[in-house]
Amino acid sequence: MLQRTYILKIAITISYSLPFYEYMQKVIFLLLGLLLAPKPSQEPPVEVIKFDTLQHLMNRNSQQIEVINFWATWCKPCIKELPYFQSIHQQMGDKVNVTLISLDFADQLDSKVVPFVKKKGLTAKVLLLDEIDYNSWIDKVDPSWTGSIPATLVIDPQSGRRKFVEGELKQEELEEIIREFTK
């Protein structure tokens, strides 16, 4: 947005130094250019969040089943199961809201997390939870969570039903859980 205003200012400055017809021509071209220019990339800007955003996600009153997966780029079993979550997102995105919560360090957002998300072609929502004081929030996600990842939380906001799984899920296991929650 800022960039466009900037371009516009330059364009106006140039235009005033030109004869009128040329000026109009430039204006038309400029407007056309602005209209046709590709919008700023919608590529997954992985949003960095604090715990309150996660809490909101866990408690919001949505019609969709919330599937929240905790992972990190350094966690091999996590990486193995990510495609299963991506597939749920693609196939059942209307009924299920998949959120992938990265626990990578926030200072590795641009060096590791964003390139990883792009490389894997993840289109499900990816958030980086920047809360290093782990002991202050792990129990609030689920009291049974010991803190190892991967971990997955499935919530039906309408019934309040929750399922928390610590450890790697096989694709069939994840699909079975989703089936139970969506039937």
């Binding site: 408690n59 009153n61 350094w74 966690c75 079993p77 626990l103 360090f105 200072d107 290093i132 004081d133 782990y134 002991n135 202050s136 792990i138 129990d139 689920d142 009291p143 049974s144 969570w145 010991t146 803190g147 190892s148 990842i149 991967p150 906001p157 309040g160 039903r161 929750r162 610590e166 450890g167 790697e168």
Partner: protein, 202 residues
């Protein structure tokens, strides 16, 4: 909204297995073991007759969170071993599933980092399972009793900032051991932290 929250809370409270963590708990007697150190010698809780207790840490080569804590683990040993609370590091991962944690790789890592404490391999994973360690690094602070057994006084994380030691504001293990040295009750006896899963043999 509030209704939903309390409903969830109520559900969590009645759910059986909300506290499913198996293994030893704070206050339990520590179970002894006999594990091979990187120098080939077997080590148990009774090996060091001078020990007033131990800082038992389940940790490994391959977990970035373990690696992030290596220098802090060395520091804990240097600070507390002379006072009778040495570090005993136990590598819990199955080396078939995690080749970077093989006995040879353990020797190499210990040499490269100059570990001043024993680095033991739990080859059968029995000790890891008995203690209920779930992630790395996972600490158990033990204190010797009058009858020569050891009691578990603290289970959890080293401090509250994995990323940067300087930014930690709560030093759980240090506080626990310092408390024990003063003959005080440990205040924070249990904490949780994000860590790597234990790689169990299939």
């Amino acid at each position: 909204m509030l209704y939903l929250q309390s409903a969830i809370l109520a559900l969590l409270m009645v759910l059986p297995g909300a506290d499913i963590a198996n293994g030893l708990k704070v206050g339990d007697q520590a179970v002894d073991f006999n594990l091979k150190n990187i120098d080939g010698k077997m080590i148990s809780l009774q090996t060091d007759k001078q020990a007033k207790g131990y800082i038992l840490i389940f940790t490994c080569n391959t977990c970035p969170y373990s690696v992030a804590y290596e220098d802090r683990i060395i520091e804990l040993h240097q600070k507390f071993a002379p006072k009778g609370y040495p570090v005993l590091a136990i590598q819990p991962n199955d080396s078939k599933r995690s080749p970077g944690d093989s006995f040879d790789k353990m020797k190499k890592r210990a040499k490269d980092k100059g570990f001043p404490f024993p680095y033991l391999l739990d080859e059968t994973q029995e000790t890891t399972s008995t203690y209920g360690a779930t992630n790395t690094p996972h600490v158990y602070v033990l204190n010797k009793q009058a009858d020569e057994t050891f009691k578990i006084e603290y289970i959890g994380a080293i401090d509250n900032n994995t990323r940067r030691a300087e930014d930690a504001t709560k030093h759980y293990v240090k506080a626990a051991v310092e408390g024990l040295l003063k003959g005080q009750k440990v205040e924070t006896t249990k904490t949780k932290a994000i860590g790597c899963t234990i790689k169990w043999s299939s």
